[in-house]
Amino acid sequence: MTPAPAPRVALFVTCLVDLIRPRVGFAALRALEAAGCTVVVPAGQTCCGQPALNSGARAEAIAIAKRTIALLEGHDAVVVPSGSCAATIRVHYPELFEHDPAWRGRAEAVATNTYEIMAYLDEVRGWRPDTALDATATYHDSCSGLRELGIKAQPRRLLRGVAGLSLTPLDGAETCCGFGGTFCVKYPAISNAIAGEKAAAIDASGAELLLAGDLGCLMNMAGKLHREGSPVRAYHAIEVIAGMGDGPAIGEDA
């Protein structure tokens, strides 16, 4: 019997990872390769268009979606280290082409092939990490991944494979952190009030590390925790899963 050929996976790193925290992209690469994938990083990638989509700028969102679809089609899978960006491609791209049959088909083909990274590693690849980190961590379920993609058990299953890591529950883990993309700068006072409650819950968990699957939410929570003087350090969960949880946390100078 010959082993199944390695799937050719396109990694869409997302604009925030590209700009703010490249480590998340390298962690994704490392985990995907460990899970037996051949990873390609399409060179023309920018942003999935979520800020336009959520601002009501439909024409702009459609234009960005078209070029992103063209860039991502033809791979065995598209993998994204963000629940909300993966949901934009998987759930919202097809909606954008409701009245455009030609693009609708292409959008759906890419959509059904697009996965949030932890869901892909866990459910599609059935992979478990072989890494270690001696720490206690708590996990926040980012809303888009949780409610649009059903991501809840997958990251926890993968994190249980990290030797030495102990997961401690977070009160209100499924409650929004107040990021909301452009919401956090359009309505900063409301966003801050929500983030304040989230930061207090994270602190109360007693964990050393905060983990989640979306960099936007992580920046919001980590930024609030740091402003409040909390010692909790934050990582994208894939960094810990890929064995990069001993490096600088979010906001720590590399």
């Binding site: 590209d18 925290r21 998340v24 990638q45 336009a52 009501g56 409610r147 993309g181 900063p188 930024g223």
Partner: protein, 463 residues
């Protein structure tokens, strides 16, 4: 953000008593709903069925309106139709005047608030007694409801006690909730029994029997609708259901979603006025069926919103509502459902903040007993606002320029390099203050970008 919305939000966020009051009530409701849902086998199927019932009625409104009118008329009620809020108020005032009414007893109805009935009654010189305990508190305080199930949820018991002492003729002397309830009971009973007309809303209109269903926990509807000579119902046309069986399916979801109770204390079906053999009841029953934009909503992409059974679960679970409370929304209906309804009722130009002041976290849709896709409907309003040029120029230009660059990878890489360079001038590690991002750094620190972007490092061969 409009100045008015900003002012209301700031006032709400600065009020620790408001936050305490919201968390007490909504927090309890959230916990009790979770228990009720856990104990409800096939909750998911019940939601799907409930949504299908409402969708069916909304798609066949004409048929069910005619069916209901025939049934209600056969039961002895008179049915009126109102296209607008003003028409509805005029019909109600006309009936009150024809009945020689000096005072009306009103059983809590959000539709009454929507059409401005309290104001219309006052203008017509007709006295109004709000018989729901929370509405009574609101009437004493001369305020508007801040929640569709608990109109006075923004008030603490301490504030209510002060109001009762100021307004009741024989107020409570002991600072206990039973003593306060007794004070309200003494005050309200006289009014209820002396009213000429009772006015209620409707939770359901049953097409095949002509019955009108109300749910309360205090029995105030029954006491304020049966003794007066005339009972007037004001109801939105989306309250129709085909039969009692359909109403029962929705009732199972309504109380559980609202308060976590299996059923409300009182669930009453009013079918026509007093019949010859009845020991009591009103001499006349009028049912005013009100459109007020509902058909337009159905035809213009908001049909799913007409499923709403007004349980309040969406707002109880909304992170924004939990911070700013109901009054900050500025419309009749607050929370996620209000953020969808208010632009339809009051115009988008005056309320464009509401669909925008939402993180699109989807919790509201998750808890909605009739599966209204609230985030999708809110996005729909954002698109309309963008199309109609209502979004602020800075946002339009910012998103426009960013979207243009995002379609040009080489330019985009250059922009990323420039952004990294600029941001790192304000800090390495954490940035404590960043011009153009003050909305962020006023409240939070911002992680500074690494020295080089992912795409740039990857292109250089780093793995």
């Amino acid at each position: 953000m409009s100045a008015a919305f900003s002012r209301r939000v700031d006032a709400a966020l600065a009020d620790p008593i408001l936050k305490l009051a919201i968390d007490r009530t909504a927090g309890t409701a959230e916990a009790k709903r979770a228990l009720a849902v856990d104990g409800f086998a096939h909750f998911e199927q019940a939601r799907t069925r409930a949504a299908a019932i409402k969708d069916h009625v909304v798609a066949h409104l004409g048929h069910y309106l005619e069916h209901f009118e025939a049934s209600a008329t056969a039961a002895g009620a008179q049915v009126h139709y109102a296209r607008t809020a003003d028409e509805a108020c005029a019909i109600v005032i006309g009936i009150c005047k024809a009945a020689g009414a000096r005072t009306v007893a009103r059983s809590k109805s959000m539709l009454g608030e929507e059409i401005g009935l309290p104001h219309a009654l006052a203008e017509a010189g007709i006295g109004r007694i709000e018989t729901d305990l929370a509405e009574h508190i609101i009437q004493l305080a001369d305020e508007r409801p801040s929640h569709i199930v608990w109109p006075a949820m923004h008030k603490t018991r301490e504030q209510v006690s002060a109001l009762f002492k100021q307004h009741h003729t024989a107020p409570h002397t002991e600072e206990t909730i039973p003593a306060m309830a007794e004070s309200a009971r003494r005050h309200l009973r006289q009014g209820m029994l002396g009213a000429d007309v009772g006015i209620s809303g409707a939770n359901f209109l049953i097409a095949d029997s002509g019955a009108v269903c109300t749910v309360t926990n205090e029995g105030n509807a029954e006491l304020s609708l049966v003794p007066p000579r005339v009972h007037i119902v004001t109801a939105g046309i989306e309250k129709l259901v085909p039969s009692m069986g359909h109403a029962a399916q929705l009732l199972r979801l309504l109380a559980r979603s609202a308060t976590g109770a299996t059923l409300t204390q009182y669930t009453t079906f009013y079918t026509g006025p007093k019949r010859a053999a009845d020991p009591d009841g009103p001499e006349a029953m009028h049912i005013v069926l009100i459109d007020n934009g509902r058909v337009k909503m159905r035809d213009e992409g908001l049909a799913e919103m007409l499923r709403c059974i007004r349980c309040g679960a969406c707002m109880n679970h909304c992170v924004v509502f939990r911070q700013i409370g109901g009054h900050a929304y500025g419309g009749t209906y607050p929370g996620p459902m209000g953020a969808v309804l208010t632009p339809a009722l009051d115009g988008l130009a005056a309320s464009r903040d509401l669909p925008n002041a939402c993180t699109l976290n989807g919790k509201c849709q998750e808890v909605c007993p009739v599966k209204i896709p609230l985030p999708t409907l809110l996005r729909g309003w954002r698109e309309k606002s963008w199309r109609e040029g209502l979004e602020p120029a800075t946002m339009r230009q910012g998103i426009g320029a960013w979207a243009w660059v995002a379609q040009r990878p080489r330019l985009y890489r250059a922009a990323v390099r420039a952004a990294i360079f600029a941001m790192r001038r304000f800090g390495r590690g954490w940035i404590r203050a960043l011009p153009l991002a003050r909305g962020w750094t006023a409240h939070r620190d911002l992680p500074a970008p690494d020295a080089e972007s992912f795409m740039s490092r990857y292109a250089r061969g780093e793995r």
